[in-house]
Every structure is written in C-alpha cells, then in structure tokens.
C-alpha cells in the first residue's frame, strides 16, 4: 500500500532522513521505533506531505506522493495524527471532529462516522460542546485520533499516541488502536514506548540517525537482543 524507497529529507542543510526504505501493507499495524531525533516524526511528516523529499520514491498504491500537498494527500486516504496532537484549542470538540471530515461532503455518512468516533471515545461525547483547549491530555489524544478517523482514512499515521499519558490511558489508547485496525484501517505507528508498540504491531522497523537499521515481525524485533537492550530497557 505505502512504500518508501531510499527517501532523503533535509531541514535546510541538515539531513534528517538518509535513505529510508519501508513498506506498509493493507490491513497491517506497522511500528516505527527509534530514539529521539532518529527521524520517526520526519518520516511521518514526509508521508503526509508536510515535508518534501529531496530524492527517493514515496508511493501510495504505486502512485507517487512526493510533492503532493498535504491537503491532497488526505483526499488520497492518509490521515496523520501529528506529534503533540495539534488539536485546535480554540475550536469545540465537535468543530475539531468536523474539521477532520473537511474533505468530505457525504453528510449522512459523516454523521455515522461521528457516531462511531463518539462510541470509540465516549469521553468526547461528554465534552462535545467544550472548547478543546480545556480537555485533559488523554482526552486531547482521543480527540486527535478521532479527528483523523473522521477523514475515513485507509492509512492512519500515529505519532507518539502514548506521549505524556498515564499508564492506564496508554493501555486504553493502544486497545483503541487495535480496534481501529480491526475495523479495517491500516496503521503506521511511531512510538517511544517500544514494548507497547510491538505488542500491537504485526511488523516493525527500527530507525537510527535517519536510516532503517532493523526490520522484521514484531515478535522477531521483540526477541532481538539489540532491540531489547536499546528500546525495551533490558
């Protein structure tokens, strides 16, 4: 479905990705692991069009994505839950969710999707008229994911959904990630919390200083001594 091949990205003069290659297949949850600054977020930002690769191939269903503006990429079926959530603080919860469905005009189906998101996150239902800036961190994360789902994506990019959340909430968010995947959405998951990520993912990649250094099934990675030492804290 999604394929990156030898993708190079730089911030000005500073290279951030140095030949990233990875693949996400229909229906999978794929984890992208790595330390701070390794290039995880940059990879997601490149896929969603916020950054443009200098070279390399980036394709969705064999159609090139590089250079396509972000608002077009959403229409092609990729939704991105960015690092730090980036919900619209001054908009209400409902307005945030409406913005998630911005590209769509099928009112009836959108109403159904809103129902589905609110069933997935009942807390958002309770706070539907509240201004989003007043939500707790966990609620904001739910809103960010719910907002992305409102685009009816085929591929969901999740950047650090567990960041800053209490352990109970982390469990809950990952449970939801699994649910979303079961309902047919492919997921590319970036996480610092490698144990959680590998528990939900089928496959994974490890990125270091802008390049993929390891890949395999989640079980293989979880058993890999280097992964255990560097990312699972053993």
């Amino acid at each position: 479905m999604l394929r990156l091949d030898d993708v190079h990205v730089a911030y000005g003069e500073i290279p951030a990705l140095k030949g990233v290659a990875l693949e996400v297949r229909e229906g999978e949850i794929v984890a992208l692991l790595g330390n701070n600054g390794a290039g995880k977020t940059t990879t997601l930002r490149t896929i969603s069009g916020l950054l443009v690769p200098m070279r390399g191939a980036l394709t969705l269903d064999n159609q090139p994505l590089a250079g396509v503006p972000p608002h077009e990429i959403v229409r092609r079926g990729i939704a991105h839950v960015p690092e730090g959530r980036r919900i619209f603080n001054r908009l209400t919860v409902r307005e945030n969710l409406t913005m998630g469905a911005y590209t769509r005009s099928d009112t009836v189906v959108i109403a159904g999707d809103l129902e589905r998101v609110l069933t997935l996150f009942p807390r958002l239902q309770e706070r539907i008229t509240q201004v989003a800036g007043t939500l707790s961190g966990g609620e904001q994360q739910m809103l960010a994911i719910g907002r992305a789902l409102m685009a009816r994506p085929r591929l969901l990019l999740l950047d650090e959904p567990s960041m800053g959340l209490a352990p109970v909430l982390v469990e809950q968010i990952f449970e939801t990630v699994r649910d979303i995947n079961r309902q047919g959405t492919t997921i590319l998951l970036v996480e610092q919390n490698a144990a959680m990520a590998l528990a939900v993912a089928q496959r994974g990649y490890v990125i270091e200083t802008g390049a993929i250094v390891l890949s395999g099934t989640a079980a293989e990675l979880a058993d890999n001594p280097e992964v255990r030492r560097a990312y699972l804290g053993e």
Partner: protein
C-alpha cells in the same frame, strides 16, 4: 456647566459614535482576519477601504450624469453601489495578497510589512493618477440623494438622517453575516482552524492558501463596504482619505485583541464612541480649554490606558497549550 445640555445632546453623540464605530469595526475586520491567519499587518488595507469608496462614487457620479440617480429607488442604488464597492475591494485585496504577500510568505517578518507599505503608497497614487486623468480631479464628492438626507425626528431635539440609519443597519447586517459565516459554517470553522495552526489544518485536507485568499476577500469586502458607507455618510473622499480611518481601525483591532473577530467589532465601536464623546463633550466639560480637535488625544489616551491593563486587548485571550 449646563447639565441639561450635556444630557440633551447625548443621544445625538451616541448615534454619531455608533456610525463612526461601525465604520471602524468594518475596516478593523480586514486587519484582524488577515492578522489571524498570517500574523501580519496588512498596511494596504486602508487603500482597499478607500478603493471601495472610489468605485462607489464613480458609479453614483455615472448615474447622476446619466440623469437617473434620483429616478431609481434610493435603496436599490445603495445596494448596487455597496455590492460593487465590496466586490471591487475584495478583488483588490485578493490580488494584493497574490502579488505582494504570497511570494514573501517565508521571508523574514519585516519584508512583507515593507511590501504592504509599498502597496499602500502605490495604490494611493494609482487612484490619484487614474482619477486625475479621468475626471481631472481627485477630490471627489458623493452626489447627494435627496431622500437619504431626510431627517427623522425622534424627539424635539434629536433627529437622525435616513443615511445615518442606513449606515448603521447596513453595518449591523454585515457584521451579523460575517459572524454567522465564521462561527456557523464549515468554511468559517476552517478559517479559525487555519488561524490557529496552519500545518494541522492542512493535515485535515484544508487548502491553507485558499483559506488565506478567502480571508483577504472577506476582509476586502468589509473594507469596501465601509468605504461606500464612509462616502455616503461624510461625502468628500480623496486617495489619501483612507489613511487615518485605516490607522484608527487598526487601533480598534488591537484594542479588541488583534486576530479576534468579535474583538474587532467591539474595539471599533468603543473607539468610535470615545471619539464622538470627546468631540462633543471635551469643550463643554473643560469650559472651552480643550476643543473637539483634542478628540484623538483623548480617545487614544484611553486606549493606551486600556492596553496597559489588558495588553491582549479587550477580548484577546491566551490559550494555554497542554502537554
């Protein structure tokens, strides 16, 4: 001090203040909406405003020289002139953004500001040149429509001209329409989303450039409407007339909290009322020591005081970001 006189003129002062205030409010929206999405002050907006006034005066002068100005119902003439002024100013604002600001979107902040000041001077002189060639004059007077000058008596001492009522009603309608657009429609929500976080908005599938153009178009249309209403109300315009009302409207936007749409409306009204109060009461209250010519000093002193205690403006808010 003649207390009866002071109270007696109050309704008149309030009406004058409201007219001025609504004018400022309409212009201030253009500054505040653009600031909201780009954090940039469009100093050419005062010319967008006066351009609307010129388009309006040209249509009315055209109708007059064709001898039909008084033959159409005044309300029809006004609506047509208002719409034409709005359309023209909206197009101008759209073009300015495309030509003078968009190419500088990623330049250091000072650069588009300089560009805006350049556009402002450029437009003043383009209007002057065009009118000088076309009419051999650039100080133009809105032709009077008799029925607009009819004064309605409210009490024995207070009356109000039809045109003043028209200005107030038209401004109210436009502010209401804008408020509804921004708060109750999908595209309005998108404007607020882009104002808050452009990158996140683009991830929603919002074409950020299109929304930015739209804010210039809406702000331009409001400015153009203010231009026509200004001409109808005060009569005389020239290519440089936009500067002072523009500056004051910008102040009104800051007073209300720059970037905040209801704030611009409120700021405009407060400034207009302060100015009208000062113009009428300063001389009465100080026994003639300060005359109406001190109205700006009075109004701006109060503004400075308000901003000292509320630096974010009357309705400006700090939204706390949560981790």
């Amino acid at each position: 001090m003649d207390v009866e006189l002071l109270i007696g003129i109050l309704p008149q002062v309030v009406i004058d203040g409201l007219i001025l205030g609504f004018m400022y409010a309409l212009i201030a929206l253009g500054y505040t909406m653009v600031y909201g999405v780009l954090e940039f002050i469009n100093f050419a907006h005062s010319e967008v405003f006066i351009f609307g006034a010129f388009v309006g005066v040209e249509i009315m002068l055209g109708l007059k020289s064709a001898g039909v100005l008084e033959r159409f119902p005044w309300i029809l003439v006004l609506v047509v002139v208002l719409l034409a002024g709005m359309l023209a100013s909206a197009l101008l604002a759209f073009t300015i953004e495309r030509v003078a600001y968009r190419p500088l979107r990623h330049a250091p902040r000072l650069i588009p500001l300089i560009s805006a000041i350049g556009v402002s001077f450029f437009l003043q002189d383009v209007i002057r040149l065009t009118e000088s060639i076309w009419r051999n004059a650039f100080n133009l007077v809105y032709p009077t429509i008799e029925s607009l000058n009819v004064r309605l008596e409210i009490t024995e001492t207070i009356d109000v001209s039809i045109k003043s009522l028209v200005v107030i009603v038209a401004a109210l309608l436009m502010l209401w329409a804008l408020h509804a657009l921004v708060n109750r429609t999908k595209v309005g929500t998108a404007i607020r989303a882009v104002a808050e976080d452009q990158a996140a908005a683009s991830l929603m599938g919002i074409n950020v450039n299109r929304i930015i153009s739209l804010t210039f178009v809406i702000g331009g249309a409001m400015g153009g409407a203010a231009g026509v209403l200004f001409g109808v109300q005060y009569g005389l315009i020239n290519p440089y007339t936009g500067f002072i009302p523009g500056l004051k409207a910008f102040t009104a936007a800051v007073l209300g909290g720059i970037g905040n749409i209801p704030g611009a409306m409120l700021g405009g009204l407060v400034l207009g009322l302060l100015e009208a109060f000062a113009a009428s009461y300063l001389s009465l209250l100080t026994g003639g020591a300060f005359g109406a010519e001190y109205k700006d000093i009075f109004a701006f002193s109060i503004l400075i005081l308000i901003l000292i205690f509320r630096p974010k403006g009357l309705l400006g808010e700090v939204v706390r970001e949560r981790a």
